[in-house]
Symmetry: C2
Subunit: 129 residues, 2 copies
DNA sequence: CTATCATATGAATTATTGTTCATATGTATT
DNA sequence: AATACATATGAACAATAATTCATATGATAG
């Protein structure tokens, strides 16, 4: 079957198929597709935002804007269990968003990066329009 | 049982329990807790980032940085089905991140806000360190 | 070495979410 | 009215992830 719509210039293209609906403007489609950042970078950006996309982690980050804190104090601020906080700190650690230092038994966490504050400021502004 | 640790000043407090581990520094905990933005605002921020936290939506947004586009062209750029794109556009629409205009049968989407670009710029910078 | 305290982590459970498939809505053309 | 096309949407399924519970690790004090 395969309804063929290409009336002219059939030799060009590469592999612009795969979508059941035809694109209305192949030139723009191609131009925009080429201007898109690397697949990997886009994936990383999404991963970063995914880490920000949980209210527990948002609250942890906002708490750390105020001051470095140990795990049990973060748990105290958020009124959540130590375990839950620790799991989320691990996520933040893996994303390189927090750093930590050990002092005896307790571990103090703080934010790793200035960009975090900027990103959050913009987000707050966006929400408050 | 309930091991009581409060040695002094038992009259203060409100309801700082609920965590099995005691906080090491109740004063700081209380101060930081009071400085945290409203629960609702924090929730909204997390919701906003959640929307950004999917690579399909990130790619749609980045495509729209280049130019307003119709649904089938976005599908063409991302090489995905019209249905998948339409579902994600609905999410972006509900988050007030995109706006649209109808022209005959086709619907053109574009970004609703300048903050989006700023937030993404910061995110890219953060990732590239 | 043992007990204790702060933190980390594995497993299980529950909830959320992205994509597909099928179909509906809405607009224009004949 | 009937057809064709662009977009939207509901249901189902698969994958991901947040919290709890139980327990492990690591450090200090006795």
């Amino acid at each position: 079957m395969a309804e063929n719509k290409n009336t002219a210039a059939d030799t060009v293209d590469e592999e612009l198929k795969a979508t059941e609906t035809e694109t209305s403007n192949p030139d723009i489609v191609k131009a925009v597709a080429e201007k898109l950042p690397d697949e990997e970078l886009l994936y990383d950006v999404a991963e970063l935002f995914k880490v920000f996309g949980d209210s527990t982690r948002v609250r942890i980050i906002c708490a750390l804007f105020e001051s470095e804190m140990c795990v049990c104090d973060i748990a105290g601020v958020l009124n959540m269990t130590q375990s839950a906080i620790s799991h989320q700190l691990r996520v933040l650690k893996q994303a390189r968003l927090v750093k930590y230092r050990r002092e005896g038994k307790t571990v103090f966490y703080s934010l790793a990066d200035k960009h975090i504050q900027t990103i959050f400021d913009q987000a707050f502004e966006h929400i408050m329009e």
